[in-house]
Amino acid sequence: MESKDRASYEWLALRCQSGEKGAFEDLIAAMERPLLYYAMTLTGNQDTALDVLQEVWIKAFRGIRKLKDPGALRSWLYSITHGIAVDRIRKDYSREQAEKVRYGDFEEAEEPSFAAEDAARVHAALGQIGILHREVLILHFLEDLSLKEIAKVVGCSEGTVKSRIHYAKRQMKQILERVKHGTANE
C-alpha cells in the first residue's frame, strides 16, 4: 500500500477518534467492500457475512478510541472481523472442521505471483483452498498487509503466516493451472 493511502487511512482513523461528524460514514464507505469480502471468505455465506460486518461496525464504533496506532486501522478492523467471524463459525459449525487443513511440506521455492487479469479466476479458486490459507491470502491480496499485520489479525506467528501464504499461493497456482488446462473437474 502506498504511503499516501496509508496516511489517508491514518487520517480517517484520527477523524473517527476525534468524533468528527461523518468520519465513521467515510470509514464504512472505504472499508465496507473489502471487509465484506473477507467476512464472506471466512463464513462462506453472504447473509452471515453481512451480520458479521454489522457487528464489526458497532464494535469499531465503540472501540475506536482504544486504537492506539491509527496507522493500524485496517489490520485492527480485520482482526475484529476475524474474531467475530470465527465466533460465528464456532457457533454454526465445529471450528475443527474448518481447521482441517493439511499442510504440505513447506519449501523455500520461488513465490508464485498473480496478474491482475487472474482476479476472477483467483476469486473462484479461493473457495477451493482451506480457510486458514484462504484468509491470509485475502489479507495479502486485498490489503497488501505486512506479515506482522496479518499475524496480528489471524493470531499466529509471522513464520506461520509466511508459510501459509506460500503454501496457499502454490495451491492457488496449481488450481489455476488445472483450470487453464481444463482438468479442474478431474
Partner: protein
C-alpha cells in the same frame, strides 16, 4: 508491484456479488450506529453530571461541622469518600481531555502530511509530463 496488487484487489472486489437489499441493510446499520452514538453521548453527559455531583458532595461535606447527628468520624469518612470519588472522576476527565488534545494534534499533523504527499504527487506528474 503496488499497482499490480491494487488491480488484483479491485478485480477481487468486483467479483464480490452485490448483496440483495443492500440499501435496507445500510439503513439498518446506520440506525444501529446512530443508536450507539446516542448511547455514547448519554454516557458522556452522565459522566459530567456525576462529576458535578461528586464536586458538590465534596464542597458540602467540607463545609459541614461535627454535630450531634453527625459525629467527627462519620464526617471524616464522608469527606474522604467524596474527595476520593471527585478525584477519581477528575482524573478520568483530565485523561479524556489529554486524549482529545492528542488526537486533535495528530489529526492536524496528518492533514499537513497528506497535503505534502499530494503536492509531491502532483509535482511528480508535472515532471513526468515534461520528459
Amino acid at each position: 508491484m503496488a499497482q499490480q496488487t491494487n488491480n488484483l484487489r479491485e478485480g477481487l472486489l468486483a467479483a464480490l456479488p452485490q448483496p440483495e437489499n443492500l440499501a435496507a441493510y445500510r439503513e439498518e446499520t446506520a440506525a444501529l450506529l446512530a443508536k450507539h452514538e446516542r448511547a455514547v453521548r448519554w454516557d458522556k453527559i452522565t459522566a459530567n453530571i456525576v462529576s458535578v455531583i461528586f464536586g458538590l458532595l465534596l464542597g458540602v461535606s467540607l463545609s459541614l461541622r461535627p454535630s450531634h447527628s453527625l459525629d467527627a468520624l462519620a464526617l471524616y469518612r464522608l469527606q474522604l469518600s467524596a474527595a476520593f470519588l471527585f478525584i477519581f472522576w477528575a482524573i478520568y476527565g483530565v485523561h479524556d481531555h489529554i486524549y482529545s488534545s492528542q488526537v486533535a494534534t495528530l489529526k492536524e499533523i496528518k492533514q499537513v502530511q497528506l497535503q505534502v504527499l499530494e503536492l509531491q504527487a502532483s509535482l511528480k506528474t508535472v515532471r513526468d509530463n515534461q520528459f
